[in-house]
């Protein structure tokens, strides 16, 4: 019985962590190129609503996920035009993008409220998925959960093991130096921002296709902001983002279980606060070693780049 609960809890934690992982990894790549896009929440919402609409109309999970990614990238493209093309302030534009995403998704989803959709199919590998404990965790997830791991590994490899990744990081460290030796700074940043948008869109798609398979206004409920915090919390390291996403997802689920078990006399409000509190504590602990953070933080983050400036 306990084993069953354990595996079920593990599955819940994975579900809670997956959208955070997608959005945070996307944002990491954008920030590594020197662009701070605070519009993650808006991009996730836009991705969620379009993925839902396409999923409902076509019945295809793959098309739905692709639509979510495309919608996120489209939102990011708007951000890129303003910040990379017209040199608008990144912080203000990112905030505007979130507000825009909230409104746009509500508008697009207006006639889809109150319509359920069958969830994304879960993997089923013969008898393997029925193995107690490990079966549902390792072999019983939907495609997006596996994709999130593959994507994390891919991003980590790209950033630290490929030449293109090195170029992207150098653009984030010192765009003027990169520009002077002939790298197309704006194009590289555009690609990074679009990737970030696509990942946020997939994170949103996961919410509306798998986590709670429906569309409801504002259903991302702040997860975009958590993803943003995660990037800083992880001090811009992919492996730590993975860890952070699961820590956060785990704490969220654990506090619900603690409440439900009814044995622990801790106020519910405090338990609700625990994930955030833990984030702050870890942040403080890590921040004591300032040099190591500086090594990972992109030096030019949030600064507007102009080739003549």
């Amino acid at each position: 019985m306990d084993m069953l609960i354990l595996s079920s809890v593990a599955v819940s934690i994975m579900a809670a962590s997956t959208p955070l992982l997608f959005a945070a990894m996307g944002e990491l790549v954008a920030e590594k190129s020197g662009v701070l896009n605070l519009g993650v929440e808006g991009m996730m919402l836009a991705g969620a609503v379009l993925a839902f609409i396409v999923g409902l109309e076509t019945g295809s999970g793959i098309l739905a996920i692709a639509a979510g990614a495309a919608m996120g990238a489209l939102m990011a493209a708007l951000f890129a035009v303003l910040t990379l093309g017209l040199l608008a302030n990144q912080v203000a534009t990112g905030l505007a993008l979130t507000l825009f995403g909230i409104g746009l998704s509500a508008l697009l989803g207006q006639s889809y409220v109150g319509t359920p959709i069958p969830p994304l199919p879960k993997l089923s590998v013969g008898g393997l998925s029925d193995i107690p404990l490990l079966g549902p965790v390792v072999f019983g997830q939907d495609a997006l959960v596996y994709l999130s791991f593959a994507m994390t590994a891919g991003v980590a490899y790209f950033l630290y093991r490929t030449r293109a990744g090195l170029v992207l990081r150098s653009v984030g460290e010192n765009p003027h130096a990169a520009h002077s030796i002939g790298f197309p700074v704006i194009a590289i940043r555009l690609a990074a921002v679009l990737f970030g948008g696509a990942m946020a869109g997939i994170g949103g798609a996961y919410m509306s296709l798998s986590y709670t398979p429906m569309w409801a206004e504002g259903m991302i409920a702040g997860r975009g902001w958590i993803a943003l915090a995660l990037v800083v919390f992880a001090t811009w390291r992919p492996a730590r983002i993975l860890l952070g996403a699961y820590l956060f997802g785990g704490l969220t689920i654990a506090q619900l279980h603690m409440q439900g078990s009814g044995q622990i006399e801790i106020p519910a409000q405090f338990l609700n606060m625990v994930p955030y509190l833990a984030t702050i504590v870890v942040l403080v602990l890590i921040s004591r070693d300032a040099t190591r953070i500086r090594l990972n933080a992109p030096a030019s983050i949030g600064k507007v780049f102009h080739p003549d400036g």
Binding site: I5, S8, V9, S12, A16, A106, G109, Q110, V113, G114, T115, P116, P119, M207, Y211, T212, P213, M214, A216, E217, G218, M219, A221, R223, T252, I253, L256, H257, Q259, G260, S261, G262, E265, P267, A268, Q269, N272
Partner: protein, 360 residues
């Protein structure tokens, strides 16, 4: 600062009055305004209020003009929105969340000619009425079903914010469920939000993992119903019928129906017979309704639920009739006695059978 605000308010009132006087014709539509705390797309609380607004339009056609402002934060922002509605010629304004109480009262003072209706509050004035619904009557009926169908004797209850309204619902449900099956235990999880589909689904999963085979919710999204369906346990819809989200799992729903009240009050306001007051309506007024009963429920359970509904509606059954024991097992309501409305409105304790403590 306050003086300045007041002066500018009255200046605005005068200006608005003068402006409104010019185009006033007998054929002008009667303007009704609504303030919602959530998006009308929440498929829950605000959605149901908006259904009431649409009912007014359907009833009076060209004779009325309605407008609404959604997702208005409770507090200072609300005051600005309500003032705006009053100033733009709305004669009857519904503010539909508890947190709008003080802003509504303030604005009502500044616009004595405008009629205000505030949901779930207790501050009233000659032009400010209050209204609320006895949702706990619906919870009591849902408890009867739960008492009949639970096999694990564990019920999970996704609770929003620890206010008497929510605690009353938990207690009413627990009382009737344990009348049928005294072994039932109800475990609430507080999510401290009215609306967060992801967290509501997570809570439902946690409760089901811990053995609950019925999920109740006092939050607004259909996510718990969906989760219950996926995991093969029972659920009860909140605010509107959610059967679409869980055809097998949805036992029934506790539906808020504001339409009859809104239509009636608009009719009175238009006729000039509107007076301030306070109404706390339940099954008898049609403000609270039960959704369709799932055909998979045992017939006896449904029959008993319907009987309880009719008895409550007729006034012969009060959900909070003694003997009622608290968590410590002490009798707090004597056999045959009932709790009065004042005690219900301030309820901050659990009855026997609820696990955990009321968050303080």
């Amino acid at each position: 600062m306050i003086k300045l605000t007041r002066r500018s308010f009255s200046a605005m009132t005068l200006a608005a009055g003068a402006a409104a006087a010019l185009p006033a014709r007998a054929a002008d539509p009667f303007k009704v305004g609504f303030v919602y705390v959530g998006p009308i797309g929440d498929h829950g609380w605000s959605y149901q209020h908006d259904q009431g607004r649409l009912a007014i339009e359907a009833e009076f056609g060209d004779k009325v003009e309605t407008s609404y402002v959604e997702s208005v934060p409770e507090g200072a922002d609300a005051e600005r929105v309500i003032t705006q509605l009053a100033r733009s010629g709305h004669k009857l304004i519904f503010t539909t969340s508890f947190g709008y109480m003080n802003p509504t009262a303030k604005v009502a003072k500044n616009f004595p000619d405008v009629m205000f209706e505030h949901a779930t509050g207790f501050t009233r004035a000659s032009n400010l009425a209050t209204y609320a619904a006895r949702f706990y009557e619906g919870r009591y009926v849902a408890g009867i079903l739960a008492g009949h169908v639970s096999k694990t004797n564990k019920v999970g209850y996704i609770a929003s914010i620890p206010i008497p309204e929510v605690i009353r619902g938990i207690n009413a449900f627990t009382l009737s469920a344990r009348k049928i099956n005294p072994a039932i235990e109800v475990t609430p999880i507080w999510v401290n939000s009215w609306y967060d589909p992801g967290k509501e689904a997570d809570s439902a999963k946690a409760l089901i993992d811990q053995g609950a085979d019925i999920i109740l919710q006092h939050t607004d999204s259909p996510a718990p119903v969906q989760t219950a369906e996926e995991r093969g346990v029972w659920s009860v819809g909140q605010a509107s019928d959610m059967a679409k989200f869980g055809p097998k799992s949805h036992m029934t729903a506790i539906i808020d129906d504001w339409a009859p009240y809104y239509v009636e009050r608009t009719r009175q306001a238009m006729a000039g017979s509107w007076t301030s007051g306070d109404i706390w309506g339940g099954f008898d007024t049609g403000m609270v309704k039960m959704g369709d009963y799932n055909s998979a429920l045992p017939e006896a359970a449904v029959a008993e639920a319907k009987a309880a509904h009719d008895a409550i509606s007729a006034g012969t059954l009060h959900p909070f009739t003694g003997p009622i024991k608290n968590q410590a097992g002490e009798t707090v309501v004597a056999d045959g006695a009932t709790l009065d409305d004042g005690e219900l409105l301030g309820m901050n304790w659990y009855v026997e059978g609820v696990n955990g403590k009321v968050p303080s």
